[in-house]
């Protein structure tokens, strides 16, 4: 399915929250009035210079932006092809790109007079970022997390608790990210008046996909300026990993209309997209409706949602942001996948050659970089989004490498 190329890839969504046929507002009536008021509040805030000023100040002085654009010299030598740059969003406060969005949303929650914050989390990076901004602004915070994820992400669970958040284990369904999102939606439906739901990725009902993208676009906007300063021109290619797709959308969006920039999203291939155990919605799923939006989903013939699998708890969501679905169909972005073992190899390579321990999520992006970089010429500028650091994954990686560690 390839749509006619639009004049611009950056104008979506439309007033119904649609990117082509994707996105929208598929929610229960109880939530509709709230979603409409959220949209209105966000539009008002966006146009308010005072909101922008406050957000920029916090991004500079609290989050630590701008994050560096780093020339990965030893990996470049190792691959012997493209010149590889990392956008170092793992250096943000809390260790990932997630806080860019959380800061934007909590300032919105304050403007709307909300008194309570809820969130879902998979790997815990979003949960930690939410707990952090909730602590910073003194708002009570409840984070829903699947019990399977709680088990494999213990350091982040403890971190959230230290920050004062209540971490609620989700046992319903299969006890992972999608079920955590269901529980958060149930909480929201029950506490609509008091509560602000900070969704962590570019999915969910409109306006979340557009709003989270806008907050994450700081990544791509900085990259443009930094690359112009470093090389005097735009990059030739961008590579980012995709679960729900927020770090990728943040890097990609400012470049969508630069048609010479090749853009590649890397999904979690798990044990392989030809096996049942992967989380590659775009490469192994088909369009459906879940969590408030129409998008590519992992589902069976009856429309029942299938659990994603990935070595990375941050990527095993059975859906993906609707704008990615549209960019896939329109052909503007190429979506590929990397397997668990390829990501594990990239994780170790990056640690040894660059002295940077990447999270398992961007390790998938690096795995794909390792496949294509050697074949690109030496003047090819490739930017990979290093969207999270790997401290949280050290125990899990040790397990996969057969190293026993006491926690």
């Amino acid at each position: 399915m390839t749509a006619n190329a639009p004049n611009s890839y950056r104008t979506g969504p439309d007033e119904r929250g649609l990117f082509g046929i994707y996105g929208g507002r598929f929610v229960a009536e109880t939530l509709m009035p709230l979603i409409l008021s959220l949209e209105e509040a966000y539009e008002t805030a966006k146009a308010d210079p005072e909101y922008r000023r406050e957000l920029d100040g916090l991004l500079d002085h609290y989050v630590g932006r701008p994050s560096p654009l780093y020339f990965a010299e030893r990996l470049t030598e190792h691959f012997g092809g493209a010149k590889i740059y990392f956008k170092r969003d793992e250096l943000n406060h809390t260790g990932s790109h997630k806080i860019n969005n959380c800061m934007g949303q909590i300032l919105l929650a304050r403007r709307m007079g909300k008194e309570r914050i809820i969130a879902e989390t998979g790997a815990g990076q979003h949960g930690v970022a939410v707990a952090t901004v909730a602590a910073r602004f003194g708002l009570p915070c409840v984070v829903y997390m699947g019990e399977t994820d709680i088990e494999r992400q213990k350091p982040n669970v403890f971190r959230m608790k230290l920050l004062g958040a209540e971490v609620v284990p989700v046992t319903s369904g299969s006890g992972t990210l999608k079920d955590a999102m269901n529980e958060a939606l149930r909480d929201w439906v029950t506490n609509v008046e008091s509560t602000f739901y900070i969704i962590g990725t570019v999915a969910g009902p409109h306006p979340y996909p557009a709003m989270v993208r806008d907050f994450q676009s700081v990544i791509g906007n900085e990259t443009r300026e930094q690359m112009m300063r470093a090389e005097g021109r735009l990059p030739d290619s961008l590579v980012a990993c995709i679960g729900g797709g927020s770090n990728a959308m943040g890097l990609f969006h400012p470049f969508l209309d630069d048609k010479d920039v090749e853009i590649i999203g890397v999904e979690a291939g798990g044990l392989g997209v030809d096996t049942p155990d992967h989380a590659a919605s775009l490469n192994g799923g088909r369009p459906g409706v879940l969590h408030g939006n129409r998008t590519y989903l992992l589902q069976d013939d009856d429309g029942q949602i299938i659990e994603g699998h990935s070595i990375s708890a941050g990527l095993d969501y059975p859906g993906i942001g609707p704008e990615h679905s549209w960019l896939r169909d329109s052909g503007r972005v190429t979506y590929v996948s990397a397997t668990d073992s390829e990501a594990l190899d990239a994780f170790q390579l990056c640690t040894k050659l660059e002295g940077i321990i990447p999270a398992l999520e961007p390790s998938h992006a690096l795995a794909y970089v390792s496949k294509i970089a050697p074949d690109r010429p030496g003047d090819h500028l490739m930017v990979m989004n290093m969207c999270g650091r790997g401290d949280k994954d050290v125990f899990a990686v040790a397990g996969h490498l057969g190293v026993e560690m006491s926690e």
Partner: protein
């Protein structure tokens, strides 16, 4: 396209209005705990006192439902339930009952996946009278609501405590059959509704529509059903019935015994509603 909507819902609500009482609307999930038991219970519901049957189309991710109904979906899916089987159960039921309206309730994805046109054709042929699709608000009417109306199937909308006067006209615009008032902001099976508050809301909606208003979410006992029946045209009970199936499974009860427990509660609820007399 069929311009004449099925009228079982209208006939049933009109008849009950003439009798001066509210409808008992029972919810069960299709295929819970298994196909045979579920069909057995379904067939006994009208005799036990159900006036309208809501039949849940199981879904892995029922975000607006509480733990009881989510668990019922999971039991049904585990037993192999799917859309084809759900429609077959309606067909089997309809072969022996031409009057009791059946409303399929669920989420959009299994319908979208089945194909909207194919679904509407098969549902109509099976004898489905109405649809409640939780995640299709009025903003999405072109997806299923309008095609359903064209096909002659009622589309029943949920109105909630958060549906303010500004939204109410949009919510009522393409609603037919009845209006389902969700008595609390929350999920199914949550705390009991406050009858006084519900009464005010039902009157607010009644001022804007001639359709019957059924009230659900949190109604469990015959006494509660009686209280709601006094102020509305229908009372929906779901989680309490579904929990009886869970309780039966937990003690390995025979299908007949589970079925008897469910129909027993339905009879008691029906009695409570009859005790309330007219809702108008």
């Amino acid at each position: 396209m069929n311009a004449n909507p099925t009228t079982r819902l209208k006939i049933r609500f009109d008849k009950l209005r003439d009798e001066g009482r509210a409808a008992l609307v029972t919810f069960l999930t299709a295929g819970d705990p298994d196909y045979a038991t579920s069909l057995k219970i379904l067939k006994q519901l009208p005799t036990a006192g159900a006036d309208v049957i809501e039949f849940g189309m199981p879904f892995t991710d029922p975000m607006a439902d509480g733990p009881a109904i989510q668990a019922s979906s999971q039991r049904a899916l585990k037993a192999g339930q799917n859309m084809i089987k759900t429609l077959q159960m309606v067909r089997d039921f309809r072969a022996g009952d031409h009057d009791t309206p059946i409303v399929l309730m669920g989420y959009y994805n299994p319908i979208y996946c089945y194909g909207v046109d194919r679904f509407l054709a098969d549902a109509l042929e099976a004898g489905v009278d109405g649809l409640i699709v939780v995640d299709l608000p009025p903003e999405t009417d072109d997806e299923l609501c309008l095609p359903a109306l064209d096909a002659g199937i009622n589309f029943i909308r949920l109105a909630t405590p958060t549906t303010d006067d500004k939204r109410l006209p949009a919510v009522l615009a393409n609603t037919s059959g009845f209006v389902y008032y969700v008595s609390i902001a929350g999920i199914t099976g949550a705390g009991a509704p406050d009858t006084e508050k519900v009464k005010v809301q039902v009157e607010r909606i009644k001022a804007k529509t001639d359709l019957p208003i059924a009230v659900g979410f949190g109604v469990r006992t015959p006494d509660q059903a009686q209280a709601i029946a006094a102020i509305a045209d229908g009372v929906v009970v779901g989680s309490a019935l579904v929990n009886l199936i869970r309780d039966g499974i937990e003690v390995d009860a025979a299908a007949d015994s589970i079925s008897a427990n469910v129909t027993g509660l339905v009879s008691d609820l029906a009695e409570g509603i009859r005790a309330a007399g007219s809702g108008n």
